[in-house]
């Protein structure tokens, strides 16, 4: 690989628009003026609620969906107008897996993986050993002769991953690849993809609405809403400090705590939600607080998430004491944590 290619982002989308003709004649804008770059070797996530245009955008990368406007650059090469053989050769370098696995139901696991090798013109005599090698990589070497209908969802996705990796692609596109799986299987597939990313240095673009997956897998995230990118950030920054309402709503699906319904607080207290990120997460803020000010603290709820191995904590605390001391304590918290949110006390009718 020459230096030029290595210096370019592996994917660069420039002002991508995708518009569909709808039955009523009104054009339906699926993707609107999206520009982004994906770096070599990273796990890049595209998140958003359903209908945000994520899957359409992912399909633009390997031209399963032709953009109405804009440019797609792979390794710095403009591929937007690739057709025929040129396009086929490009697709050999890009693996793709899907929400519903999309295996060929009439072929055995072995033949499913072999299909991708045949597509690349792999030498016939070497196909079997390469298939075995790939199935070993995904931990399914005993299922060589099974048919997809006999496999669980997680196993089917493993076969799909083995198949997608058959021709040593530089890039793996995952379209809602864990959305049809149960949480335990999702975790297994997530850690398999993490391993593959490290072992094979493959770049992964992963589309999902599952923030649990985003938290565990992505290095960087683009948040999509109504066809537009509203935020691109590192996963940790996005979770600790979302800059848009959409991001905030998505983050809150994993990183929020419920305020207990039956909570009754005295007049002498303040209820605060504290978010602490980065190095601050290790500081003994709470015990400092009660030593420094004349307040008592009771922790009502809390959790700490680790994102890209960095802690991100959220706590619901009631601060009890004289009003002046309480306010000083809150000021102290504001200075020493990432975010402090004062929660309005509900009246006794629970409103």
């Amino acid at each position: 690989m020459n230096q030029d290619i290595l210096n370019n982002p592996i994917i660069e989308l420039q002002n991508i628009n995708v518009t569909f003709k709808s039955a009523e004649g009104n054009p339906l804008v699926a993707v609107s003026d999206v520009s982004l770059k994906v770096d070599r070797g990273e796990i890049f996530g595209i998140v958003g609620s359903s209908g945000a245009g994520k899957s359409t955008l992912a399909r633009v990368v390997n031209l399963l969906q032709k953009p109405t406007d804009g440019k797609v650059l792979i390794d710095g090469q403009n591929i937007t107008d690739y057709r025929g053989d040129e396009l086929r050769k490009l697709r050999l370098r890009i693996g793709m897996i899907f929400q519903h696995f999309n295996l060929i139901s009439g072929l055995s696991v072995e033949d499913n993986v072999a299909f991708n090798l045949k597509a690349a013109g792999y030498p016939k005599s070497d196909i079997h050993s390469r298939v075995v090698e790939l199935l070993n990589l995904v931990g399914l070497s005993d299922k060589l002769k099974s048919y997809p209908s006999k496999l669980s969802g997680g196993q089917k996705q493993r076969v799909a991953i083995a198949r997608a990796l058959a021709n040593n692609p530089e890039l793996l596109i995952c379209d809602e690849a864990t959305s049809a799986l149960d949480p335990k299987t999702t975790d297994e597939i997530v850690s398999l993809l993490n391993d593959i990313n490290k072992k094979l240095k493959i770049t992964i673009v992963f589309i999902t609405h599952q923030m649990e997956v985003a938290k565990k897998l992505f290095n960087r995230i683009a948040v999509m809403d109504s066809g537009k990118i509203v935020e691109i950030n590192s996963t940790y920054s996005l979770f600790s400090n979302p800059t848009s309402h959409v991001s905030e709503a998505l983050v809150s699906t994993v990183l929020d705590i419920e305020i207990p319904e039956e909570l009754e607080l005295s007049e002498e207290s303040h209820l605060v939600k504290i978010l602490y990120a980065g190095g601050g997460a290790y500081n003994p803020i709470i015990s400092n607080l009660s030593k420094t000010f004349d307040v008592d603290l009771s922790i009502l709820s809390g959790k700490i998430e680790y994102i890209n191995k960095k802690p991100l904590g959220i706590l619901l605390v009631s601060i009890i004491g004289e009003e002046s001391e309480r306010l000083k304590a809150i000021e102290y918290l504001k200075d020493n944590t990432t975010k402090v949110e004062l929660i309005e006390k509900r009246d006794n009718n629970g409103k």
């Binding site: 697709r91 999309n102 060929i104 033949d111």
Partner: protein, 220 residues
């Protein structure tokens, strides 16, 4: 059974059966080759990720629709000049196979198109995403995923052909159906009618059972 009936059957049944088999096999082979091909063209030319081509699709669809819209009994007559050109004659089972083949090709083409259309579009998409050639997708995806449906389609075509071949008597094609009409209907030989009907029912049953078994063996 009256002696007369037995005599008629002894004299004509073998010949009639042979004629039916001849007509059905010729037109079924035509359907398998050209009908399948036409069905594949219809499917490929209408499918986005494959080789979508509106012009090709419109031409193929029009040809199929024209043939399918003409009642078989009229197609038999309309195609007489073409039959003469191809076979050199207008009577006999070989001649009758020409209109039968036309009918079977158009009929089978639609069934095959339907069999391909029933394939999960996600499977097509994932195959296209691999960078496989259209040739490989046809052989390893389309014909693999649709094979059970195609076997069922062949069974339906075969059964329809056995039915249509009974009308071939109009142009002197002969066959079991013609035997039933000539003797069972025009000469009030109810025994002949009964035997031919039972025989046709048996043939169709056997074809259907075999077709179902084969189709089932392709489902994994």
């Amino acid at each position: 059974m009256e002696n007369n009936t037995v005599e008629i059957l002894q004299q004509y049944l073998w010949k009639a059966s042979y004629e039916t088999i001849e007509m059905v096999i010729i037109s079924l082979v035509a359907a398998l080759v050209f009908g399948t091909l036409l069905g594949l063209i219809l499917y490929l030319s209408e499918t986005d990720l494959l080789v979508k081509n509106k012009a090709v699709n419109a031409i193929a669809a029009t040809v199929v629709n024209i043939i399918r819209s003409i009642p078989f009994i009229i197609l038999l007559v309309v195609l007489i000049p073409l039959t003469k050109f191809i076979t050199g004659t207008t009577i006999g089972p070989i001649a009758a196979s020409v209109p039968l083949s036309f009918c079977a090709i158009a009929f089978h083409a639609r069934l095959v198109e339907g069999a391909f259309s029933d394939i999960d579009s996600g499977v097509i998409e994932s195959s296209v995403a691999t960078g496989a050639s259209i040739k490989l997708i046809i052989s390893d995806v389309l014909f693999v995923e649709a094979r059970a449906s195609i076997v069922r389609a062949i069974t339906v075509t075969l059964v329809s052909l056995i039915g249509y071949s009974a009308m071939a008597g109009i142009v002197g094609g002969g066959g079991i159906g013609d035997l039933a009409i000539q003797f069972g209907y025009y000469r009030y030989e109810s025994g002949v009618m009964l035997v031919t009907v039972v025989l046709l029912v048996l043939i169709v049953q056997i074809a259907q059972i075999i077709g179902d078994k084969v189709a089932e063996s392709f489902v994994h």
